[in-house]
Structures are given as C-alpha cells and as structure tokens.
Symmetry: D2
Subunit: 324 residues, 4 copies
Amino acid sequence: MKITAPLTVDQLMRQFSNSGSFGAGRLATACDIYEKMLRDKECTVFLAVSGAIVPAGLRTLIADLIRKRFVDVLVCTGASMVHDAIEAVGSRHYKGSRVEDDRELYKYHIFRIYDVLVTEEAYVRLDYKLSEMYRQIADEHKGETLSSREFAWELGKRLEDKNSILRAAYEMNIPVFIPAVRDSEFGFIHWLHSSQKDIKNVLIVDAFKEVPEICGICSKSPKNGMIVLGGGVPRNSVQSAALASKKGLDYAVVVTMDRPETGGLSGSTLKETVSWGKVKGEADDVMVIGDIMVVFPLMAASVMERLGSDFKRNKTSLTEGKHA
Amino acid sequence: MKITAPLTVDQLMRQFSNSGSFGAGRLATACDIYEKMLRDKECTVFLAVSGAIVPAGLRTLIADLIRKRFVDVLVCTGASMVHDAIEAVGSRHYKGSRVEDDRELYKYHIFRIYDVLVTEEAYVRLDYKLSEMYRQIADEHKGETLSSREFAWELGKRLEDKNSILRAAYEMNIPVFIPAVRDSEFGFIHWLHSSQKDIKNVLIVDAFKEVPEICGICSKSPKNGMIVLGGGVPRNSVQSAALASKKGLDYAVVVTMDRPETGGLSGSTLKETVSWGKVKGEADDVMVIGDIMVVFPLMAASVMERLGSDFKRNKTSLTEGKHA
Amino acid sequence: MKITAPLTVDQLMRQFSNSGSFGAGRLATACDIYEKMLRDKECTVFLAVSGAIVPAGLRTLIADLIRKRFVDVLVCTGASMVHDAIEAVGSRHYKGSRVEDDRELYKYHIFRIYDVLVTEEAYVRLDYKLSEMYRQIADEHKGETLSSREFAWELGKRLEDKNSILRAAYEMNIPVFIPAVRDSEFGFIHWLHSSQKDIKNVLIVDAFKEVPEICGICSKSPKNGMIVLGGGVPRNSVQSAALASKKGLDYAVVVTMDRPETGGLSGSTLKETVSWGKVKGEADDVMVIGDIMVVFPLMAASVMERLGSDFKRNKTSLTEGKHA
Amino acid sequence: MKITAPLTVDQLMRQFSNSGSFGAGRLATACDIYEKMLRDKECTVFLAVSGAIVPAGLRTLIADLIRKRFVDVLVCTGASMVHDAIEAVGSRHYKGSRVEDDRELYKYHIFRIYDVLVTEEAYVRLDYKLSEMYRQIADEHKGETLSSREFAWELGKRLEDKNSILRAAYEMNIPVFIPAVRDSEFGFIHWLHSSQKDIKNVLIVDAFKEVPEICGICSKSPKNGMIVLGGGVPRNSVQSAALASKKGLDYAVVVTMDRPETGGLSGSTLKETVSWGKVKGEADDVMVIGDIMVVFPLMAASVMERLGSDFKRNKTSLTEGKHA
C-alpha cells in the first residue's frame, strides 16, 4: 500500500483493493459490490439501517443518496426516523464530550446517545408537532389502516425540511419500511394521540400490512441487493423478504461490529444466509467489520467518485405514492 | 478464587463475588441483582430477549422461569416465538457441526442458525398450523384489532406443549410483548392467511396498541426491573416503557456481547440510560459482557439455589387474560 | 436445557453439552477436551496465559492446578508473574469500584487495572525485594546467562508464599516460560539492579535461550495440548514451539474475546493454525468466545468434578530443576 | 455530513470532524492528535505495532513514514519484522480467498494468515539467509550481548530492500525495539544458528538491555507521544517506558478492536493509564475502535495532506547508530 497526499477517497480505496488485506480488502470489496449494484440496471437496492445514524451525522448523506437514487428502498428502525423528524421540526443533536455525568444531564433534561446530546425539549416539540400530524393522517384515512410504509410516506409529506430522510423519500417516491415502528417515540406519540379527549379518528398502523408490500418489491425486481448498516430488525426484514419472495439476494454488503459466535442475527455470517436461500450461493457478498459511521461515508464517497457526476440511474418508481 | 470439586453453581458464584474481578465480578453482581429483584415484593421483572435462544436450548429454561413466576413480563423478538411455536407443533432444532457447506444445506432444504439446524419442512408445518390458528383468532375477533400481546396470548391458548414459552405464559397469565412481531415467520404466515381466497375475517395486529399496555404495567408497579439478554428492540421497548411511564427502572441487568462505541442501542451503557430517566441514577445495575447461552443459565441456576425450592413469589396477575 | 437447583458446575456443563448450542456448546466441548488431555497419559499440557489474571483473582486457582499437576508447562506474560510476586512479597490487589477518577487515583499513588486497584507502594516494595534477589541470582551465576525459564525458577525458589504461582511451579518442577519477560516491572527492576553502584555481577537473561528448551519439551512428548487464556505472546510461543518441533498440537482450547477479522494472532482461528502445522488437522480443538475470568474457573471446576479427588496424573518431571 | 465526489481523504476527515460522532468523531480526533504530535518540535513519536501489518499491506507505508521521519521510534512484535525480512530477501505475501481448506494448504506447504498466504519456502529461505547474518553479527560482536534494538539495527544494515521497514529504520537511524524478539521465527533461526557445528560465536540478545535505552529516549525528550496499532507487548513497552522515565505521555492514539471489559492491556482504556502516570491527565488522547488496516492508512493520508509536501520535521537522531 503506497500512501501519498493528497489522495482522493477512491484512490485510497484502490490501494486497499490492490494490496490491502483483512479489513482493508473487505472494505474495497464492499465498494466494488455497491458500484456493481448501482450499475446493474436490473437491481433494486435495499438499504437496511439500524443504530443512531442521524445523531451521528449521516442524515444528510442518506437523504442525498435517496435523492440521487442510490437507494431504492429504505428499511430502518423507528428511532432513526424519530431522530430525522426531530431535526425536521427544527431541533438539533449536539456533539458532547465523553465525560458527561449522566445524573447531571438528567437534572438538566438533556439526553445522551454515546457522545451526542439532545434536549428533552426537542422531544416535547416533536410530540406536539407529530401528534397533530397523526390526527390529520387519521382524519384523512378514517379508520382505514396504514402500513409502516404508508405511515412514513404520510410523515414525509408533512415534513418540510429538504435534508430530511423522510422528506427525500417522499419526494423521490422511495418506500421507507419501519418494521418495528412502535418501538420508538412514534409509539409514545401514538399514546398521546389516542388519549386525546376530542379525538375523532385514531391512527391505526397494521403491523402485518407491509409484508406483502416489501415482498412484492423483491418479487417484481429481476435482481435484489442489500446494504446493511448495523443489523437487527432492518437486516432481518430485508433477508426475510428475499426468502418469502423466493428470489434470494444477488448482492449483499453488511457493515457491523457484532460478532457471529453468539448466534444472533446481527452478527451472523452471510454464508449462513445461503442455507436459507436469503442470499444466493453465487451472490457477490462481503461483511465489513467496522464502525458504520466511518465505513459507510467511505463507501459512499468512493462509489460516487467512481460513477462520476453524470451517472444516472433510471429506475421507475417501485410504488405509486402511498400505494404499494 | 479457590476452586474445589464438586462445587455447586452458586458456590462458584460466591467465589466470583468474593475474589473475582472483571467479568467474574460483574456476573456475581448480576446474580445479586436478580435475587434482589425477586425478593423485592414491589418489583415487576421484565425479561427482554433477543437472539436465537430457543434454537440454542434455552426454551425450557425460559418456560420454567415463567412457571415459577421468576419473570413477570416477557418482551421478545418475533423469531424467538416462531422458534418456540416450531417446537410446540412438533418439529425440532438440531445441533449441527461447524463445517456445514451452506450450499449443500440449501439443496437439502435445511436451514442453519450458526451451529443449529432446522428443516424447511418444520417451517412448512408451522405455516400450515398457524395460518389455521390465525383464521380462528380472526373469526373470534371479527375485525377487532389485537396488540402483539393479545396475539401472543391467543397463540399460547392454542399451543398444547407444556414446554412452550407461549403456553407457559398463557397459563401463568404472563404478558408477552412482541414489538416487531411482523419481522419473523409470523409476518409471512400472515401473508398466507390474508391471501386465502375463502377468508372471512383478516387478523389485524395494531402496531401501536401494546404501547399503553406495557407502559401501564410499569406505571402501576411500585418498582420495575429488567433483565436484558442480547439487546435490540426488546431492550429498547422496556427502557422506553420505563421512560414513558415516568418511572425509571430500579434494577437492570444487561447481558450482551455488543459494544458501546458504535453508538447502537444494544451495546449502549446503562450509565447512558440514566440521562434519559430510563434507569434511575441510584438503581442496582450491571452489564455482563458475555454469551447469553452461558451467562443466563449460570444466573438462573445460582439464583434458584439461593432462593431454595420453597421460595414463592406471590404476585397478582398483571393482566386479565387477553385484556391488559 | 433443564436448570434445577442446586446443580453442580459439571451437572450444568452436561446440560450445556446435551442441549446447549453457540457459546454453551463450545464451552462444554472445551471441558471435554481438557478432561481428555488430562486423561491422556502421553499428553503434555501447556497453559498459555495473558491478561491480568492475578489481579482478577485466578492466582490461587492457577497455583492449585500446578500443584495438582493439571498443568505441565506454563507460558505467560511478565506482568502476570509480576502480579504474582507482588502478592508473594506481601502486597494485595483490591477490588475497586467502576467510578474511580483516574486523576485522583494518580494523586494518591494508586494504580488501576480495570476494576482492580493496587498501590504504588506495592511496586516499590517489589522493586526493593526483587532487586535484592536479582543480585543474589547474578552472584550465583557469575556472568552465566539464564533463560526466562531459569529466571522464573530462581524467583520461585526465593518466594515463600504457598499460593504463589512461581513458588508452586518451583516446588512442582513445572517450567514457566516468560517470553517477553522484559516487558513488565521485571524490566524496570533490572534497570535498578544494573544501575547499582556496588554491583559485582549483572543478571543476564538471554532472550533466545529458552527456544530450544520449550521446543525440546514438545519434541520429547508423544502428544501436546494447549489451553490458551487470552492470546498474545504466550499463545504464539506455544504454537511456534509446536511448529518448530514438527509435532503439531493434538489438543487445543482457546478462550478469548479477540476477534479473527483483524488478522491478529490473538483472535485468529484454530483452523488457520492447521495450515502451518501448529495444530494438527485431526486435533480436538475449540475456541470459546468469552471472559477468561468466568470461563476458566467453570472449566476447572467442571473437569475437577469429573476426574474426582482420587485422580492422579503420574507425569515425570519435564525439566530437572533449573536445567532444561 | 455532506459527501460529494471527488473528495480527498482529508476533506472527508474534516466532515468527520465537523459533524461526525461515534467512530467518525474519534477518528478525526486521532488525525488531529497525530498532526499536533508532528508539528510539536519537542515531541518524540513512538509507533507501537502489533498484528500482521506487513502481510496486510502496510509495509511500504510504515517504511515511508520512517523515511519522512513521521515516526521517531518503532516498537513492534518479532513477527512483524520477520514478515518484513521475508519480503526483503525476495519472498512475498499473497492475497488469498476466504474459503481455503487449511488441511489442503498444509499439504501444499502454504501458510495462512487470515486471508493472506505465504509459502513455507519463503520461511526456509529466510532461515537460511538470516542464520548467515546471525553468524556475521555474532562474529563481529564476539560474545558482547546486544539489545533487541541493536539486533534490529544489525539486520537493517544487512537487508538491501528500500521498502524494508528494518532497512528504512537503519538508514534513518530510527530505533526499532522488539521486546518479545524471541517469540517469532527469529527465535527458531537462533536455534538453527546456535546448533551449527562449526559455530565460533553465538549471537546473544540480552532481554533486559533495551530497557534503559527506551527509557532514556523518553527521559531526554521534552514531550512524548505514542500511536498504538493493535496493543499487546508493543503498547505495554511504550507505556512502561513513559512510566519508568517518570515523564508520562503527552499524546496518545490507540487503534484497536480489543475491548476493555476483560481487563487485558490491549483493550484497556487510556483513562486507566492516567492512574499509573503512563499517560498524563491533561494529555491529548483518543481510542479508535476499528481495523488498523483501514484506520491507519486513513490517518496517514489525512495527516500527510494537512502537512503538505514541504513539511519537514527536523529532528536530531535519538541514537547514534547501534549505540543508544
């Protein structure tokens, strides 16, 4: 590996590709696979995200990738979209120091996410604004149930921040699935919403309604690829859709720090998924063991550089507005 | 640490407590906290479980703990209850070797979970039996929505295996929350169920309906404690309930191999939760960094030994049948 | 897995063996292999130890295993034997709390090893006593160089604490190799020793002298087995001896939390060592991913229980006093 | 974080610095600290390296950093310098695939280091060439003992490959300490060397001789900083030198995947070192949790870009040839 300066991110990645092994080699392979997915006109790109990516600073990047259509389907935790909405309604996450005293923070109504801080007030504002949106959405649907994808689409429609992931997905007609939507402030806000005295219609999200939606996307697409940041429910949901639709993934990149030996899904090997038919035996796949906040920006910058500014992915919409 | 033989599990734990540091000291503290939770008549014990605990062999242990009322509320992934149901309808998970070729397994319709194997046929049987149950449940409820807790209760009512976790919970009136219920074979079975031509009523699980149910349990209980095996959505759901009910946990034990530095929830420190008010600043808490399949049986055996066979936890039921 | 109480450690291990997978299964296998090594009259058992096992409380256990001849050769870091000597000359390691302020500790001359504390005074006492021993040893050897094994033997001869690992090894004629002996307080003490004005003979430890000694032990033994706690130089030294002596290990148990993906030796798989001939392709081997302070006492208690108090390993001495 | 393309490595690092948290924020801080160390004319930069960095492709980078005087002192494992010497005498490490069968590799005399392969023949050639060098060195020194630093210097003098780390260090008069020199092929070669029948002088490396050498460097330098890649003996040796010389480190960057909870040195926190006085309470320090093969090239490229091609560190030599 020969390092000179200045070096662009992709030039460094080429060094990793030529002479780097262990993690460096795997990271270079991950970039190759992401590039290949994007150049493959038949491939639908699923991005499965867990972890506090918005507080950590990846919000604009994810929104940009959606706007460039470098992502076709987003599957994520409720918390990520809560964090996105917090910023969309005008609050911020702050970089903190590592030496905060959590009891002091508690007294001052400041919440800590590792080295990021967010005020309780930001949550109060979110509760207020979103419970109002819930009411509107419920009134429009009058008892009709929504899938988590439709719920995300309705939120994106109402959030007016260009850097918002939900907004970008709404504008680009990119489906956003939130399989554990209840497990986040969205759940608490629903409790507030449904407890209001003067409520006419209660918003109902049908837990199972999204299943045929996501499976249908896999089914209709000639090829499917996934990029997993973290693991958990988002990874499992994409893999299950590939299985249920009997398609199997053609491309798979997993970036995680979890380890396989505990038998948990998040750290499980891609080799193992082959036995299930979730990932094809002949798929291009790789696991990168590293921090997603470092690894994913590297991948994005490298692949953008390779594809150039003129590159266009001409994909038709997978879903028609809120309808799958 | 003085090791002689034979030594009971709790005698070993006393050695860890007296002279062991690092992981041994933390494990001994975890046993002390679990014992304290069980002896504290005011405390409701939440067990939050992720990871493939049933394939790994902890099914009977969890069911036994429920029957002994060493657990008051179970919060888990859909996959765990799918694995439980697979065994309840007569299939098995098998110990495999580490050197399986996943492409070969795929050909023979055998699925691998790390070093455990399960046949595709087991899933087919499950699909068949459970889609029948879904139909019954839907017919009984005629359009009324269920929470994941009510759904779990309805399944437990219909599974006749004494060693089943769902059955034990049903019989003991222990609520089981499955916040990401759709992210598992339960979701695929729902798709089968709702696609049936002659279907009269479709089962509807309302994603948000369980939120006030779990928060209400925290709220009504003078004290709350949690034991987390793994992390993910189950851990987050319990912590969020403690926050939303403005109670804060009085006891917390987390057993995980995930690490804090990535900022993800599963590996996040209990210290951090204090800033949110999820865990109280003065709570008894500890994180044990280890494999749950080793650590939790040790904890259970040690605490059972301390409490003795005459120990009874006289707790009234938290929920009335399927009603919260 | 069926857990009742009271359960002996080995009864629990049998449960792990029958129905436990993932970490539980591997731990049960580790016990089986250690038992097999001890019952195999042809096998020499190498224990390779890194990490702060003495501060963590395993000192008496290791000394007891040496006295029971459950270990034939010890390979360890300098720091472990420094910690052993600190206790042998009358100082102690104390369990601390997790919330110490390291700047405060520094002011009060207290050193921290994770959650264990030791005073600077303990080191000063050690420096004083051991530099006196260095002088005696050098005077006896008058310019003749020692291997780290001979150095350890000379220390063990002079330490009069029954619970000392070095003392137990000396009394039992168990060779102790310290391949990185200089990387510890032993190195600093040597500096003090060699700087003394009135010094007649300076102690010389020949870095390479131990290589034929440890290789010779492998060579002469019909079979060789290793138990690795941690990794690092001790693991590498045993594996290298097995390679250099062209024997290959017949048994191998590695207990570690390090991971393979970084390419480092400590987390590297036993599979990989097969390509080198360090471990035989047909060896009994297993890696246990866990905290050695929990895992090793479990293994020791389980195997002692299996073998019973009458079990005797009649091994002749591998070395004659300080001579290899 | 706003990612556009093309982006230089340092431009990306500025994004990490401004808006990235968790791992991204720590990596940006690591670059800031390394830059600060290099701009600080009073600071001596120790690079402590463990892990298979040469097989992984970092050999040229390390040699280049030495030639640019971005490193003042190298402390490393024996294995790293063995790998360096293997390439210096004309052999190569090859990138392999992940699916090698180790028993097959063994048959074909090919050794595996994770995903890198090297032939047994490369080792045989090394043994032959280096045992000849050992003889020359021993003949020149005639019974006089060497420190590992002097041994490394003598090897560097005899290796004629410009890309060799040992050669670059020799030419630049950069001391290389190998505290566990015996724990590597260097140890086996010594055995070959000392077993030769016609040998006149045997090479003797005094395990302790380097201690005052490395402590003296710390002592004389107004400030000291360390960059640790991995951990193990190299990290401990630098920290111990800072302690023994009563200086304490002013700067510290640790890149590792090891974790603190086991109590081992490699994963231990820098906070803990403050209690010992190894790192100063007011030092600039950070731990980056990641793969060194990815993280260190990023740091090097970013810092080189910041300093520009005209930057010169005018440091006088720390050692005079082989003399400390």
